[in-house]
């Protein structure tokens, strides 16, 4: 275990306050959260200007697929949280297993998103079809880009877990933090694009 790992509590329930992951990652998370928030508010303003047209296009989306994708990302977020919890307990084998589950969930999410896009394109719904589909492809595309960056974060976590010589809980938590951000951004996108009326 590295000096960094030894210096940090092994349990999150020890009653002590501590930063989960590196501060720099939290700055990035807040910048991303504020940036996406502005996209979501702009979407809502455009939605309210022509709600009927937005709802006509929204009704073509597969709500069940949106729900399944949400459940998949929530499960992957749980498994990466479990990965961190196991790493804190020193059970790196279980941590790696949970990390693999997380990556599997991410891959499944990306595959279903590509499938959904292909279905919509097959129906003649392109980026330029109307305002709703412009927002749909922009928001889901930006999010998928973050999922891909999330795989790099998961790769860094795997690299840390693989060798006892370089295990750093702080870096593992930092990678997990990015993946959780990908999860909560999708939770908001799902509500706006699939549910809100």
């Amino acid at each position: 275990m590295t000096e960094v790992a030894r210096a940090r509590p092994t349990s999150s329930d020890d009653g002590q306050e501590r930063m989960p992951g590196q501060s720099d990652m939290w700055v990035l998370v807040m910048i991303e959260a504020i940036t996406f928030s502005s996209y979501f508010v702009v979407y809502t303003i455009y939605y309210c200007r022509s709600a009927e047209a937005f709802l006509r296009s929204q009704s073509q989306l597969d709500l069940a697929l949106g729900v399944i994708n949400t459940l998949i990302l929530l499960a992957s977020s749980w498994s990466v949280a479990r990965c961190v919890e196991r790493a804190r307990a020193g059970d790196h084998r279980a941590a790696t297993r949970n990390l693999a589950l997380t990556a599997g969930g991410g891959l499944l999410f990306a595959a279903l998103k590509l499938h959904e896009w292909s279905v919509e394109i097959g129906r003649g719904n392109f980026f330029s079809t109307d305002e709703f589909f412009s927002f749909y492809y922009f928001l889901t595309g930006m999010h998928l880009l973050h999922v891909l960056v999330g795989f790099i974060a998961l790769g860094v976590v795997y690299y840390q877990l693989k060798s006892p010589a370089r295990r750093s809980l702080e870096v593992i938590e930092t990678g997990a933090t990015f993946w959780h951000m990908v999860d909560f951004l999708w939770v908001i996108i799902f509500a706006l694009l699939y549910v809100m009326r």
Binding site: A33, S37, T44, E52, E85, H180, D183, F190, V195
Partner: protein, 91 residues
């Protein structure tokens, strides 16, 4: 009774998944005739989303154990975002 870290994560995941299914039932009127703007659905969708995001931040991202400034910053962003969304929809 104090839950272990593992039990808390399972409880958070279960809560988030259950809330997602509630959101599904709210949006499930798709395909059942004409869909019209519905302020109650919009308010519910935004409220449910804010709850889910806070559970993810507090439980999965472990912000409940973070220094107070991070707890305030994340709650401040979430409150501001919720307010901005409600103003964008209802104003």
């Amino acid at each position: 009774m104090t839950l272990s870290a593992h039990q808390r994560l399972v409880a958070a995941w279960f809560t988030l998944s259950a809330i997602t299914l509630v959101a599904w039932s709210i949006g499930a009127s798709h395909g059942r005739g004409p869909i019209e703007p519905d302020a109650a659905v919009a308010f519910s969708a935004i409220a449910i989303t804010l709850i889910k995001v806070r559970v993810i931040i507090r439980e999965f991202m472990d912000v409940r154990h973070a220094p107070a400034r991070l707890r305030w910053i994340t709650d401040g962003w979430l409150a501001s975002f919720g307010l901005a969304m409600l103003l964008a929809y209802f104003a």
